[in-house]
């Protein structure tokens, strides 16, 4: 790929100059200092052959007129023998590019008018190139966070390699539109295996003539695969978006931070877009973290649930979501505040397996426990400067919450292996007690921090732990989801025979100062 090789020329000559998505692949490789491009003609197998069968059934006379695998490498590779000895660290990404051609009589040009591209791609023999799939490494910058990154295996030449990333795919306007490719992107990670477009379309109950999917069909796909989720149509729920304008951002962030991902549906901007224009959907799988962002200080992001309670959500330090846009390619930063609430019509937060509630509900439910408990902890009885700082932050409603869905073993390991700022480790007896206790397998850990601590070194002052396996009732006096609270110097549990005003039991903790946040 050294000069005078031009990626732009290569795409023009070999593929389609009209495809921003294919150009994006080469841009990513160039930006990652790719030095070798390997181009292979491959045969359709597995889900590619399955797709060809599906398109053939929809468009008799269909032909696949091209199938090429390209891979990008940071090292210089000149022959097959050298490729065999390559290791994964120099592997930047791969893509399978597919050219599909259907007889002209099936072409409805209006179906291919793509307002985002501003062009009408030619769809005549020999066909139109699209990205069947691609995986590129994430930008290595430490502020780009991708929880639960997936490892994909792919054969290049006769050697199998692994690459970390999140699968991207592009619509071909035949059997896959943005809804199907967005679903496949997240499903490949959730299911830990690939899923064909035919299976997605079958699960959705899509009719042969239908383009794209309806919300009910997206729900069907997820439900039939046993995937739990929370989704919100804001046109049906105007009160929700009016009262909580950043609601969709919280949902998207909760799905991303749990390692499952989110889907965002929005209407495209531009005066040429009619009101009846179908909506666009894109998957989010990560976020950026900007410790110096002004947003939390400016109250823009403050989540004010009621007059006396609220918190600064940890997504306040997120400048952009990381996601794919099938029209333009993989691994984009989508500025969080760019998608105005009035343009976002629908959001899906994918829940981790075993979880019954959303991260935003868990955060909200944790609020009264923290606020009430800190009202009654006598600072003089339990002198601790970090506890004191937390109490002060809560009194002025400047406390930071971050909800993380993890299993009980991971939580106990987190406590057992971490050290607080004064190099204290948790007492063995506490770890043993938690290990022996009948904790729910799936926990919502609502991490609690203060504004100057959380962004600076990603540390916290404690957590409210809730049972992730049960629905939250939304009733006063429902203590059933509460498992424990850990604050500097102590754990707090609720006795079972409490009255309306519960008795908390306080046990000592050796963790008396701030502690690292959980990373997944």
């Amino acid at each position: 790929m050294a000069p005078p090789f031009s990626c732009l020329n290569f795409v023009d000559q070999r593929f389609s100059p009209e495809s921003p998505a294919i150009r994006r692949l080469f841009s990513l490789a160039r930006a990652a200092e790719g030095r070798t491009l390997i181009v292979e003609a491959i045969e359709p197998h597995g889900i590619i052959a399955d797709e060809n069968d599906e398109i053939q059934s929809l468009y008799p006379g269909y032909q696949m007129t091209g199938l090429t695998r390209i891979s990008f490498w940071k090292s210089i590779i000149t022959n097959q023998e050298q490729l065999r000895s390559e290791n994964n660290k120099d592997f930047l990404g791969y893509a399978i590019l597919k050219r599909d051609a259907v007889p002209d009589k099936y072409i409805d040009q209006t179906a291919y008018d793509d307002p985002a591209l501003g062009v009408t791609p030619e769809f005549v023999s020999p066909g139109f190139w699209s990205v069947f799939e691609a995986v590129f490494i994430k930008d290595p910058h430490p502020n780009n966070c991708v929880p639960n990154v997936m490892i994909y295996k792919v054969s290049i030449g006769d050697t199998e390699f692994c690459i970390e990333g999140i699968l991207y795919a592009q619509q071909n306007t035949l059997n896959r539109q943005c809804a199907q490719v967005a679903l496949r992107s997240l499903l490949s990670r959730i299911l830990q295996c690939d899923i064909s477009y035919r299976e997605i379309n079958n699960l959705a109950g899509k009719s042969p003539q239908q383009k794209g999917l309806e919300v009910s069909q997206i729900r069907d796909v997820l439900t039939k695969l046993g995937i739990k989720f929370r989704d919100y149509d804001y046109e049906l729920n105007p009160d929700l978006s009016r009262r909580f304008p950043n609601h969709y951002q919280k949902c998207a962030y909760a799905g991303v931070e749990s390692g499952m991902g989110s889907l965002i549906t929005f209407c495209l901007a531009g005066s040429s877009i009619s009101e009846n224009q179908p909506l666009h959907i894109i998957p989010f799988y990560g976020h950026t973290f900007n410790k110096d962002t002004w947003i939390p200080e400016a109250d823009i992001a403050y989540f004010k649930v009621g007059d006396d309670v609220g918190y600064i959500p940890s997504e306040s330090w997120t400048s952009s979501f990381l996601g794919h846009d099938d029209n333009f390619g993989p691994n984009f930063c989508v500025p969080r505040l760019y998608l105005a609430p009035e343009r976002v019509k629908y959001v899906v937060e994918i829940l981790k397996p075993g979880y019954a509630v959303s991260g935003i509900e868990a955060e909200t439910k944790a609020l009264p426990f923290l606020y009430s408990l800190l009202d009654h902890i006598g600072i003089n009885d339990f002198p601790n400067p970090w506890l004191n700082r937390l109490v002060t932050s809560v009194r002025i409603q400047r406390v930071v919450f971050r909800a993380i869905a993890i299993d009980k073993d991971t939580y106990i390991k987190h406590l057992a292996t971490g050290k607080d700022w004064e190099d204290n480790s948790e007492n063995d007896t506490v770890i043993q007690a938690l290990s022996r206790a009948d904790l729910p397998a799936h926990l919502w850990i609502v991490e609690v921090s203060i504004p100057q601590l959380f962004p600076a070194n990603k540390r916290k002052l404690g957590e409210i732990v809730l049972n992730g396996e049960i629905e939250l009732s939304g009733d006063d006096g429902d203590f059933s989801p509460f498992v424990l609270a850990r604050l500097p110097g102590a754990y707090y549990f609720i006795q079972s025979d409490q009255n309306d005003d519960p008795n908390f039991e306080r046990y000592s903790s050796a963790l008396t100062s701030h502690f690292p946040v959980i990373r997944i």
């Binding site: 049906l236 729920n237 549906t265 629908y346 509460f482 549990f493 079972s496 039991e505 306080r506």
Partner: protein, 58 residues
């Protein structure tokens, strides 16, 4: 509706048994804010209502 914190109580018992520590008891007057439960109910209702969504994406 009052629902007990059975799990929390059981973990506390295990903590007492393992650590041999006598816990301090703190009675807490819960600070309820109707907005919290209202938000949870709104969220649940919005999710339920979304089942009848007619939005199309492609």
């Amino acid at each position: 509706m009052k629902r007990v914190a059975a799990i929390s109580s059981n973990v506390a018992k295990q903590m007492a048994h393992t650590s041999k520590e006598k816990p301090q008891i703190i009675t807490v007057k819960m600070r309820y804010d109707t907005s919290i439960n209202e938000f949870i109910r709104m969220n649940k209702e919005a999710y339920r209502r979304t089942a009848s969504s007619r939005l199309k994406v492609r």
